[in-house]
């Protein structure tokens, strides 16, 4: 018969200060792990949710990002009438030639500035990105120096609210609307008219071309056609693949989270071990009594190990609760690929919390293993004789 768990609960409660300190220690380790991983998760989620598998993105051959690609005007014209490209209600091919620029803006909180990605496009670009919808103001009118700003950029940078304007070079850009892009990478962009962009920034080429096909199969066909065309020196990939490629950015953050968690959890396991040794040392006689009552070595062992795990799990829950308020908090960092600010949110998923609890479990087992073994091995008479 196993030793009732109530025994362990009461033991933990008797030395509640020590138990609480240990649980809190483990909890803080779990909290740090969950927070750092939530950062990586948020960054990843931004890219994974962006992109439609039906959309194809065309870049110059050899280029890795939209911001350093060049597509000439005649190449765009040639691409436009490739077979297999979807058409809109007016039978116009859904092709959007876009131009990517960077603008240096000051942060609202006064902590310096950052590059923000500005995308010049026509109305086809909007049709290709149904995720984006206007939440304030109006859409920009072609032929004017107007822009619409994503909600997150408007929140983070100064002069980006409707009615305000920011200067870039000699040009004043008027913010006429704010859009929400359902947490995709477009949430880090400012959109302007592509002809205005080319005029103001003196570019006679485009950066990339986004086009719609009828489905994954159609996308593969169009991709083959475009790449086979000798007149075009282009690299074609689905929009979702392009954004998936960028998830590698979260790599260093993940590494940091893992490194921190492993080193800290070794420290916390030491602390748990200390606590368990003390807890067991103080009730050696009690354990001897349990053995006399007929509980076997194995049962004592399991019970004490369980006590340590219980303590760690309480810590794990505490840690998750501590980290939870961070869920949804917006932040931003530099995207290495485009060299522009990427805005995203901390994202704490059930899976992530599960991983945190797993960490706590491991710490509990590691911390309880040796002390529990020591207690279970002690001869009954020695234990009873202990002071």
């Amino acid at each position: 018969m196993p030793i009732p768990i109530r025994y362990n609960l009461r033991s933990l409660r008797v030395r509640w200060r020590l138990s609480l300190a240990t649980a809190l220690g483990i909890g803080l380790v779990v909290a740090v792990f969950v927070m750092v991983m939530a950062l990586a998760q948020g960054l990843n989620a931004t890219y994974v949710t962006t992109g439609d598998p039906r959309n194809l993105l065309v870049l110059r051959q050899g280029s890795t990002a939209e911001s350093n690609s060049q597509i000439m005007r005649d190449e765009v014209t040639r691409m436009r009438y490739t077979e297999g490209i979807a058409r809109d209600a007016h039978d116009v091919p859904l092709v959007s030639a876009e131009i990517i620029l960077l603008v240096y803006l000051e942060r609202r909180d006064g902590s310096g500035g950052a590059n923000v990605l500005v995308r010049g496009m026509k109305s086809a670009g909007l049709a290709l990105r149904p995720q984006a919808r206007l939440v304030a103001g109006r859409m920009l009118a072609p032929g004017r120096r107007e822009c619409v700003v994503s909600q997150r950029i408007a929140d983070r940078f100064s002069n980006c609210q409707v009615g305000e304007s920011f200067r870039s070079g000699a040009t004043e850009w008027h913010v006429v609307g704010i859009f929400d892009a359902a947490r995709t990478a477009y949430e880090s962009e400012i959109w302007i008219d592509s002809d205005e962009a080319r005029a103001v920034f003196r570019r006679d080429f485009f950066g990339s071309v986004l086009l719609r096909t009828d489905g994954p199969e159609g996308a593969a066909t169009v991709k083959r056609r475009l790449e086979a065309d000798r007149m075009l020196q282009v690299r074609v990939l689905t929009e979702s693949d392009y954004y998936k490629e960028q998830t590698q950015m979260a790599g260093p953050i993940r590494f940091m989270g893992g490194f921190l968690a492993v080193v800290m959890s070794v420290g916390a396991a030491f602390a748990a071990m200390n606590t368990m040794y003390a807890a067991i040392g103080a009730r050696t006689r009690e354990i001897g009594t349990l053995r006399v009552l007929g509980f076997r070595r194995r049962e004592v062992y399991v019970s004490l190990l369980g006590e340590s795990v219980l303590l760690a799990l309480v810590g794990g829950v505490l840690g998750c609760l501590l980290a939870l308020p961070l869920n949804g908090v917006a932040t931003g960092t530099i995207g290495w690929n485009t060299f522009a600010e990427v805005a995203f949110e901390f994202r704490i998923t059930p899976g992530l919390m599960g991983k945190g609890m797993l960490f706590a479990l491991v710490m509990g087992v590691l911390g309880g293993l040796l002390p529990a073994r020591m207690a279970a091995r002690k001869p009954v008479l020695d234990a009873l004789r202990a002071a």
Partner: protein, 380 residues
């Protein structure tokens, strides 16, 4: 036995606990040291007396916009300019997209005066100037790819659609960054079809006094033109990249705080455990004539020693580790150096000292206040 010996014996009576506590303090301070060093490397770009004289001229809108080549002569003739070089970020890779390192197209005869703190071999510089497709590479990058002087390498452009085929003409050592590759702007212009544009201009000023005036003069000269400029010191230029990282500084700072807090919690609970179990002994000490202050100082000394031992293992362990590890290769170029500075070490040791005192404050007070009779009655 003297007092110090008594304290040491007392501390060591439960070896397991001493080791576990010391190691958990050591691990926490190790982490603290690593985080603070990482933060410093990321937010404090290396600088020197020489780099304080360097200015960077870029397009006002952003770095991705280029400047016309005609600005070169204008800037060159301004008072206070010692040298001015075209300086264009190439952003290519060597063989594979993973093999990324900084490359710049520049003027070969300007490199040595511009980066006077780095060591160049005058003969290699002469070779570089004489070879239109030559390049000079920092020693770290040379080691990373096991290149040799005289070797031919091909870079693949990711921004510019061209692949320069370069011959390594020399190596430089020292300076703020030992990973750069410099090749001739003339060759770059040839490959890109003479765009007539330059990424940035790098200037070395005559002395520190002329800098404010020079910055104002350059930006005023090109005001209201197609390409307005923003001129700043090298340090300000690098700090603008740091600010793009966003609130990483806050993140690392808060993690460090959590670590220190956890540490105090753990050590404090261990210390109170250690003291509670010897309440009877403390009462005996008092009974034979030790006063409360003496008892407290003994407890504080024990806890202080424990924390300091942990601090030494953690902080100096980190220093030792990073002195013997090639951090540049390990992080694939993310960190150039990983110097655990005396400043950071001192910070870590200070935390250890504070930890030693605070963690035993409550148990020591309890021990001091306890009456002899109550202490003697204590069972365990």
């Amino acid at each position: 036995m003297n007092l110090a010996g008594f304290i040491a014996r007392n501390a060591m009576r439960n070896k397991r606990r001493v080791i576990l506590t010391t190691f958990s303090v050591a691990l926490s301070l190790f982490l603290y040291t690593v985080l603070q060093t990482a933060l410093r490397e990321m937010t404090q770009p290396a600088s020197s007396e020489d780099s304080a004289l360097r200015l960077v001229v870029r397009h006002r809108v952003s770095l991705a916009n280029v400047l016309p080549v005609k600005y070169h002569a204008r800037i060159n003739s301004m008072p206070g300019v010692r040298v001015c070089s075209k300086f264009t970020w190439f952003g290519g890779v060597y063989q594979d997209a993973k093999n990324f390192f900084p490359q710049f197209a520049c003027e070969p005869d300007k490199i040595a005066p511009l980066f006077a703190e780095a060591e160049f071999d005058p003969r290699e510089i002469a070779d570089f100037i004489g070879d239109r497709t030559g390049c000079i590479v920092g020693v770290k990058t040379m080691e990373r790819f096991r290149w040799k002087v005289g070797q031919k390498i091909t870079l693949t452009g990711t921004i510019w659609d061209c692949s320069p085929e370069l011959t390594i003409r020399g190596v430089y050592r020292g300076g703020v960054d030992e990973t750069n590759l410099f090749f001739q702007h003339a060759y770059f212009d040839e490959l890109t079809g003479d765009l007539g544009s330059v990424g940035t201009y790098w200037i070395k000023a005559l002395n520190a006094d002329v800098i404010p005036e020079l910055i104002a003069r350059i930006d005023r000269t090109f005001e209201n033109s197609d390409a307005e400029t923003k001129t700043e010191t090298e340090r300000a230029f690098q700090l603008s990249f740091v600010s793009m990282f966003g609130n990483i500084k806050m993140l690392i700072g808060s993690i460090s705080t959590v670590i220190v807090f956890t540490m105090i919690l753990v050590t404090a609970s261990t210390m109170s455990m250690a003291i509670r179990e010897r309440m009877r002994e403390i009462a005996i000490l008092k009974a034979i004539g030790f006063d409360g202050k003496r008892v407290v100082s003994m407890i504080v000394a024990e806890s202080f020693g424990l924390a300091l031992a942990g601090g030494i293992v953690g902080c100096f362990g980190a220093k030792l580790l990073f002195a013997n590890v090639d951090i540049y290769a390990l992080t694939q170029g993310f960190f150039l150096k990983f110097d655990v500075t005396p400043h950071i070490l001192a910070g870590g040791m200070l935390i250890a000292a504070v930890l030693g005192v605070t963690s035993c404050a409550i148990p020591a007070l309890t021990a001091m206040r306890a009456t002899i009779v109550a202490g003697l009655r204590e069972l365990d």
